[in-house]
């Protein structure tokens, strides 16, 4: 069976010459939920931007559902990979939430009446149907985060990629977002510095540091290894212990 995501020997240097990735291998099967962990500057965001062809591999290869990321099929790749960016303000730009949610599917050729249906379903899935006609500017942080998630869900991606979804959320909004994500039932790659969140949502974790994968295994096992965590600038919150 083809993997949902298959990254092999991916290396990449930014135009200014800074090498951010040095041969990353990562394979995610359909329906898996995987956390992508690592210190600041490890290359997590850089890796994520390769998954939908924003960055083009310097060496190595990225495949989504068996389709290689190339210049020709970048649009199909972007339909398959939905990226929720770290800052919802970057994602939301239309006058109303509903317009913003419609933006992606409309780009991918979805037309009315199906378009309205998609918008409604996506807003329902994240529990903010009542915000449809509001301006994204005037929403709270948690509402914006959900709206941003809806804009990507509406594209019906095969794999959902989230860049630090729990930042700036209050504890209740953070838990509610977890409930939403757990209810989605699709392949998910979640970049996070919030280790308990990774443990709650993702059975498997991949740690990258210095542009390479340094660990790949069950989240609980990785987080229980205090020496390993310390070696890669990862730390459980104060008072948090795994038994």
């Amino acid at each position: 069976m083809t993997a949902s995501l298959d990254v092999e020997g991916l290396a990449f240097a930014y135009p200014d010459g800074h090498q951010a990735l040095f041969g990353v291998d990562l394979r995610i099967e359909r329906g898996e939920r995987v956390a992508l962990l690592g210190p600041n500057g490890a290359g997590k965001t850089t890796l994520v931007l390769h998954l939908n062809g924003v960055h083009r591999a310097g060496a190595g290869r990225v495949e989504v559902g068996g389709l290689e990321v190339t210049r020709e099929n970048v649009q199909e790749i972007r339909r398959r990979v939905g990226i929720v960016f770290q800052d919802p303000d970057d994602q939301l730009f239309m006058p109303t939430v509903a317009d913003d949610v419609a933006f992606g599917p409309a780009n991918f050729g979805v037309t009315e009446p199906e378009l309205s249906l998609r918008v409604k379903e996506a807003l329902d899935a994240v529990g903010v149907a009542e915000l449809a006609d509001r301006s994204p500017m005037h929403l709270s942080g948690g509402q914006r985060r959900r709206a941003a998630l809806a804009t990507v869900l509406a594209c019906d991606p095969e794999i959902l990629v989230l860049d630090e979804p729990s930042t700036h959320l209050d504890p209740v909004a953070r838990r509610e977002l977890a409930d939403v994500l757990l209810g989605l039932d699709r392949t998910m790659l979640m970049v996070t510095h919030d280790l308990p969140y990774a443990l709650q949502l993702c059975p498997r974790s991949v740690v990258i540091d210095g542009g390479v994968v340094v660990a790949d295994g069950p989240t609980r096992d990785l987080l229980a290894d205090a020496d390993f965590l310390a070696a890669h600038r990862l730390e459980l919150p104060f008072g948090f212990a795994l038994d």
């Binding site: 924003v54 970057d90 109303t96 317009d99 419609a102 780009n107 991918f108």
Partner: protein, 254 residues
Amino acid sequence: MAAGHAHPLYRAGDSVVHRLPAHVKIVVAFLFVLAVVATPREAFAVFGLQFLLLVGVWVAARIPPGWLATRALIEAPFVVLAVLLPFFATGPRVEWMGMSLAVDGLLAGWNILVKGTLGVLVSVTLAATTPLRDLVSGLSRLRVPSMVCVIATLMLRYLEVIAAEARRMRLARVSRGHDPRFVWQLGATVRSVGALFLRSYERGERVHLAMLSRGYTGAMPAFTTASASTATWSLALVPAVVAALLAVSGYWVA
């Protein structure tokens, strides 16, 4: 709730004018302004009639004139220019209250003043009765290049983001003891304007990335907007056509 559609010039309502499709209103407003501009400047009465026509539209849209007047203040610089012209223009002069005024300058000032005022009033009327998203989709329906529509949407959207960013940066400065009242502290304000520009630019790049990730290829998707029947068009065009007829009659009079 329509709060999300608001922009500072919009006045929510449910009048005939509010319900007209945006692209119709844009065309009518454009034609109206054209008619005003084409009217000869000596046809004083025609401008009065065109103004009355506009008042008729306000009555239909239920917009109080006072509300409009405050919004029309953006034209103040034109008024200043118009008032100054008679003093500085050359040519035949008339004496008025002991001042020597150039006839040509008077007419030129009047021309700017009356056409500018009517033009601003028409634009404010359009903005007051049309929510932002309708304005933008109306433009794209009129085949205005999609890039212009994209820029218009983003500009209106990010004015708020940038204003909020500027507020946060100012707060952060003030919290660290910066008091912009003192002249020697102006430097920090100026530097922060530079930082704001950079931040806005970087934000723009990230927004563009996020748009690309959702399949954006350079054209805004066409959202369905209400189309207009011939009857709607005929009704909406009345003010523009009357304004144009008045303009033509102006050439007779003048």
